[in-house]
């Protein structure tokens, strides 16, 4: 497969996954804002989190200053100037798809293209603040639809592996960020375990990664921070956990199995083993924030390694045996 094709497939999947995750983060912020807040500076405090999770706090502050519900929502959902807004992600996903139309199925292209056209209609019709929850649902639906169509129509070859790679690296990154940011906002209320506010707050964190029902099924008990961390980091049966994501990343890299991908496979294997054999007590003991920061750094390094091995147009000087030069004998 062309390196550029692999690159576009990888980023197409990443952009769609990122759009979905941003929608999830904003959706939860919206739900939380409906709850009575007893925290100080409530609105700015609450709305800073989504900016922080998606790493666009700086861009926002330069434009708007203090975090306000309406401005944050619009900036993260629809602002074309924000490169990680849902709008920008879906736009870039379409451009990636357009560049590799031949490598994806026409059904996949139609979903991405129709999503982009529909998004533009929605933007043109002026989404009101009250309509955003519906908009977030729509973004999630389109992402689910895209994944379903992909699995239902594409040949199981390395094109699919690069799509999976993009999806799950992005998802791992996002779950780690949500957990890191939210955990620290929520921890002060840890004494209040079992209280109503606590229930909603932790519940909303779980819901943002579609893990609320999974938590109930798995633990059948009150929500405790340590279990939330365990579910989202170590449980491999939870589809958005770090462990589940790294399972997919590692197996995609093994399927691709390119000669130049040895280091990427080694790194993924290492990260995966860490999650596979890790214990939540040890994670908490070394500090959740430290643990997640390290995970994010490693994921980033893995992404760079994948890029170097497969996605960029590399320097092939070592591939070609230079023609022998004739040596002048004296």
């Amino acid at each position: 497969m062309l390196s550029r094709t692999a690159d576009n497939l990888f980023w197409m999947a990443r952009h769609i996954e990122r759009a979905e995750n941003t929608a999830r983060v904003l959706d939860v912020a919206h739900r939380s804002s409906l709850l009575p807040l007893d925290l100080d500076g409530s609105e700015a405090y609450l709305w800073y989190a989504p900016l922080n999770i998606t790493g666009c706090a700086q861009g926002y502050e330069e434009k708007y200053g203090l975090a306000r519900s309406e401005a944050v929502t619009r900036y993260m959902a629809l602002d074309p100037e924000n490169p990680s807004s849902i709008y920008s992600c879906l736009k870039m996903a379409r451009e990636n798809a357009r560049a590799v139309r031949g490598a994806i199925t026409s059904e996949m292209w139609e979903i991405i293209n129709a999503t982009w056209l529909e998004l533009n209609r929605k933007v043109a019709s002026d989404i009101s603040h009250e309509q955003f929850p519906e908009f977030f649902e729509w973004v999630k639906d389109r992402s689910h639809l895209f994944r379903g169509v992909t699995l239902g129509t594409i040949l199981k070859d390395i094109a699919l592996s690069f799509i999976k790679l993009g999806t799950f690296l992005e998802r791992a990154d996002n779950t780690a960020r949500i957990l890191d940011v939210k955990y620290h906002i929520l921890l002060p209320s840890v004494n209040d375990v079992g209280g109503a506010a606590d229930y909603y707050q932790w519940g909303s964190l779980l819901k943002s990664v579609s893990a609320f029902e999974a938590y109930r099924k798995t633990y059948r008990d009150v929500i405790s921070p340590q279990r939330v961390a365990e579910l989202l980091i170590l449980r491999d049966d939870m589809p958005r956990s770090l462990h589940a994501c790294m399972n997919e990343v590692e197996s995609a890299l093994i399927d691709i199995n390119g000669a130049s991908g040895r280091e990427a496979r080694r790194r993924a294997g290492e990260q995966h083993a860490d999650l596979h054999f890790g214990r939540i007590e040890d994670v908490i003991a070394q500090g959740l924030h430290e643990y997640l920061s390290r995970f994010l750094v490693q994921t980033d390094l893995l992404g760079q390694e994948i890029r170097k091995a497969y996605l960029s147009c590399r320097d092939y000087s070592e591939f070609f045996i230079q023609p022998l030069r004739s040596v002048q004998m004296q």
Partner: protein, 472 residues
Amino acid sequence: MPKKTTFNEMHADDGSVREIYQQYAAWLATLPEGTLERKTAEAELLFRRLGITFAVYGEAAGSERLIPFDVVPRIFGAEEWRRLEQGIKQRVKALNAFLHDIYHDQEIIKAGIISAHQVLDNAMYRPEMQGVDLPNQVYAHIAGIDLVRVAQNDFYVLEDNLRTPSGVSYMLENRRTMMRLFPELFANHTVEPVEHYPQMLLDTLREAAPSHVSNPVIVVMTPGAYNSAYFEHAFLASQMGVELVEGQDLFVQHNKVYMHTTEGPQQVHVIYRRVDDDFLDPLAFRPDSALGVPGLLSAYCSGNVVLANGVGTGVADDKSTYLYVPDMIRFYLGEAPLLSNVPTWRLSEADDLKYVLDNLPELVVKEVQGSGGYGMLVGPTSSKAEIEAYRQRILSEPANFIAQPTLALSNCPTLVESGVAPRHVDLRPFVLSGKQVRLVPGGLTRVALTEGSLVVNSSQGGGTKDTWVLED
């Protein structure tokens, strides 16, 4: 301007329906009112969803438009198509023979049929190609021959497109759309299929491969996603099951061409390139080209890779060379031309120039190297001021222009706002040359949607139609 009688493809002068359209007309008469309009809206939705769009240069970046699709088909009979087909094949054979000749022994110049100046001083002549041997002696593997009809049996070749002719994806998508919209029509008409064009193209490209390669790696090369015909490039690559590459995906090492893949470098043997000569190789042609591949020309001239179409074909489809095509047919094939040229005045000749300047309001004037309907003057539909401005352009460099009489292009029924009404059409069949010359029965019919307009180019607001050749 004297009113010329226009040939109507569906209706005879007495208003009766011509034989090949009878079945269609009978079906059309049974349609409930508003059906065609509804189907048109449906077609537009299909095209937009599939992303069959093109970019118009000069408009905001990234803007995409649909080429209007007309739901009324244009129909040819089997017999008239056979005659056309022979004429088209003959013409393309002669053009390829001409290209081989001028890049080798130049017999046609020695014979005094065409001047050395006309060939060697042509900006599209590539001296780099002199003496380069190409497989099957084919230069223009893919040719688009633009035809217009003025009477029942009277066709003219308007121009030959031997560089990177586009539009074939519309021919294929138009057919697919028609079959989806009107399945019942295809049940009661025996329309010759065109769907096998991509397979035919793949066969042609395989045949074009360097002779020492038994299983050639073929790619389609595009300038990129912002090119106006990008949809078509991607479409053809995926229909043929080959990679769609950009210049940045390729590199040259030891005169061989490779593409960057996830498995490392892979050698490429045939490049169906949709990039103009000038942009192919920054080392050989325009140094500022970011679309090309450094060293590509050298690899090509060493015979390690084949470009389709070849480099330097522009010298044969230039509007001033066009005049000599009938002579080429006589010279190389020893046959009488089956298709006629439009009578053409060369403004480099003093007599012709004088006549043309005296009659500008009645003529069509074109730039010798122009294409896409840009930069031409259609006298009868232009204002006095436009004509005067164009006159100044001609006077500044007369040799850059040719002129032709305004042809009465045939009409074909077309759905417009006021209902089904006649509009002018042309036809571009796509001709493939490998070990043999082939074409699918049909082509792209372009239609000028504005009443009375003769300009059918999509960049100038033209639309397209499905083109049917009925079986006997």
